[in-house]
Each structure stands twice: as C-alpha cells, then as structure tokens.
C-alpha cells in the first residue's frame, strides 16, 4: 500500500511498485463507475470504460503526487474513454424517435385544437414548493432525480451529462459526437423537459392540481 511521491511533474513513470491495482479498484472503482454510468447510461459499457481506464493507467505507469492526483488522473483517462465510446455510439446508432418530434408533441402540451402548443388544462407545471433550495437537502429528492436520470433515453442522457455536469463546451460536444448545434440544443431541452416532468409526476407534484 506504500506510495512513493514523484516530484518531477506528476506524470512521469515511476517504478512498477507504486502501482497497486487492487487499491485502485477499492478506492476509485465505485467513483469511476458512477461517473461512467451517468454519462454512458449503460452498465456494461460503463464497466468496460472503467476496466479500460485501469488497464490504460497500468500501461502508462505514472508517478503520483498523492492520492488526490491519482484520482484526477484516472478520471481524465476515463473521460477520454467515455468520449471515445460515445463517438462510436452516436455514429452507429440512429437518433431516438422522440428527438424528431415537434415541440408541441412533448409531454404536457396540446398537439391539436384551438390551444395547440399550450399546456393541457390542469396538467401544466404545478407549484413544487415555496423553498426550492430546501429540496436539495432532501434525500428523497436525490433518489427520485437519480431514477429520473436513469429513465432518459441514452443519447439524451449522455449529451446532458457532458454539457451540464462536465461543462464541456457545446462546440466540442458537437464536434466529438458529430451532431449539429440545433440537434444538441434539442437534446438538452428534451432532457430537461423530461427530468422536470419526471420529478413532478413522481413526487413533487403528486396530488397537486394545476393553476388553471
């Protein structure tokens, strides 16, 4: 479990004795898997990405400046693996069906009639709470958010995670995944729309009538 410190640049290879893959799995395995799962939305793909990360790290034989640096370094490798995986997925898989739908076909909106494109009466967004920030202190909120994130279609979930969590610039996402800026904005909007509706129907809006 000993760990030597390489003060040169933090990235140069040191002796193989520094590397302790068993400790990597114990200390970083769950963290890296959670990170990969949120972006890839697929258990087996996330496991593969983490395994490739460990193997890549072992091959690169880095010197560490401490365990914090070690995790940062592993995360950097993993994020590259994730983008590689997503690049392939976006090139191979056809867009999901609801990416093509017009806005007035999204959940909650009327798709025909006099008020086409407006919220359905009594099905528009309800008042969640007087103190929205207090929601973020509730375990239940996070559990439901997690289940709502898991329900997003894969392409939508991946783009949403790259943009909102990794704060990857939109130009870079478009370039890496081969999608147009319009497509990206549609995916982001659909993801937010679904998450909001999911949170509302699963907890926050339960039993509350709409304003009109």
């Amino acid at each position: 479990m000993s760990q030597t410190v390489d003060n040169s640049d933090g990235h140069t290879p040191s002796s193989k004795g520094d590397l302790d893959p068993e400790r990597w799995i114990q200390e970083h395995g769950d963290y890296l898997f959670d990170l990969a799962f949120l972006r890839l939305h697929d258990r087996s793909a996330a496991e593969d990405a983490v395994q490739e990360t460990f193997l890549g790290a072992l091959k690169a034989r880095p010197g560490f400046q401490g365990r914090a640096a070690e995790r940062t370094w592993l995360v950097a490798i993993l994020k590259r693996k994730i983008v590689d995986h997503l690049r392939r997925r976006f090139r191979e898989a056809a867009p999901e069906a609801d990416e093509q739908l017009p806005d007035d076909h999204l959940e909650g909106f009327q798709s025909d009639g006099e008020w086409v494109g407006h919220w359905f009466p009594r099905r528009g967004p309800v008042d969640w709470t007087d103190n929205p920030l207090a929601l973020l202190e509730k375990k239940e909120f996070w559990e439901i958010l997690e289940s709502c994130l898991a329900k997003l279609p894969p392409r939508m979930a991946s783009v949403f995670a790259l943009y909102e969590i990794d704060e990857m610039p939109s130009e870079e996402i478009c370039k890496e995944l081969g999608i147009s800026p319009t497509n990206l904005w549609v995916l982001l909007h659909r993801a937010r729309h679904r998450l909001r509706a999911c949170l509302e129907s699963n907890w926050l809006g339960a039993g509350k009538p709409g304003p009109k």
Binding site: F33, F37, E47, V50, F109, G117, P125, P132, R192, K212
Partner: protein, 103 residues
C-alpha cells in the same frame, strides 16, 4: 371581485393568442440556460411569462433541475444522493484483467 377575475382571465386569453405557444416558450427558456436570448426574444419571453403561471413555474423548475444536476457530486459526497456501485463480478473481472496485464 368576480368581475376583476373575469377581466384578468379574458386578458390572459387575449394575450396568449397573440404570443408564441407554451411549447415554444419552454424550448426558448431551456435554450436561455445555454445562451442569453436576444433583446427581442427576452421581451417575448417576459410577456408570455407575465400572463402564464405555468411557464413561470417551468422556468424556475428548469433552473432548479440544472442546479441539482450540477451539484449531484457534492450531494453524493454528503450522502444525500445515491452512487451507482460496481458489481462484485465486475470487480473480479478487473482484478483478473489487471493481473494478466501486469504479469
């Protein structure tokens, strides 16, 4: 009082017919989390929100969702949000693969 409520409702209906529909506003509200809308668009959005309680809530809720997702990692660290965990099978597979490569 009833007369005032009726006038207010008639005004909302009149305005709603002249402004972009809620689905368009919802999309633009989402886009505005990425990029500040033009002055013209901001005026249209504000006008719609002035008469539409639903879209006003929608705007606030989208911001809350964004804030939550961006703070997920902190919530995980504080034990509020659940973390996805590796399966025992995957751990074992990693051990074997790493062992094979280090030999």
């Amino acid at each position: 009082m009833k007369l005032l409520a009726s006038i207010r409702w008639q005004f909302i209906l009149w305005a709603a017919r002249r402004l972009p529909p809620c689905c368009h506003v919802a999309h633009r509200l989402s886009d505005s989390l990425q990029e500040r809308p033009s002055l013209r668009e901001r005026i249209v959005l504000k006008s719609h929100l002035f008469v539409c309680e639903w879209c006003t809530r929608y705007a606030a809720q989208l911001t809350l969702v964004q804030k939550a997702v961006r703070n997920r990692e902190t919530a995980v660290d504080h034990g509020l949000a659940p973390r996805q965990l590796l399966s025992d099978e995957a751990r074992e597979r990693f051990r074997r693969a790493l062992k094979a490569q280090s030999e």
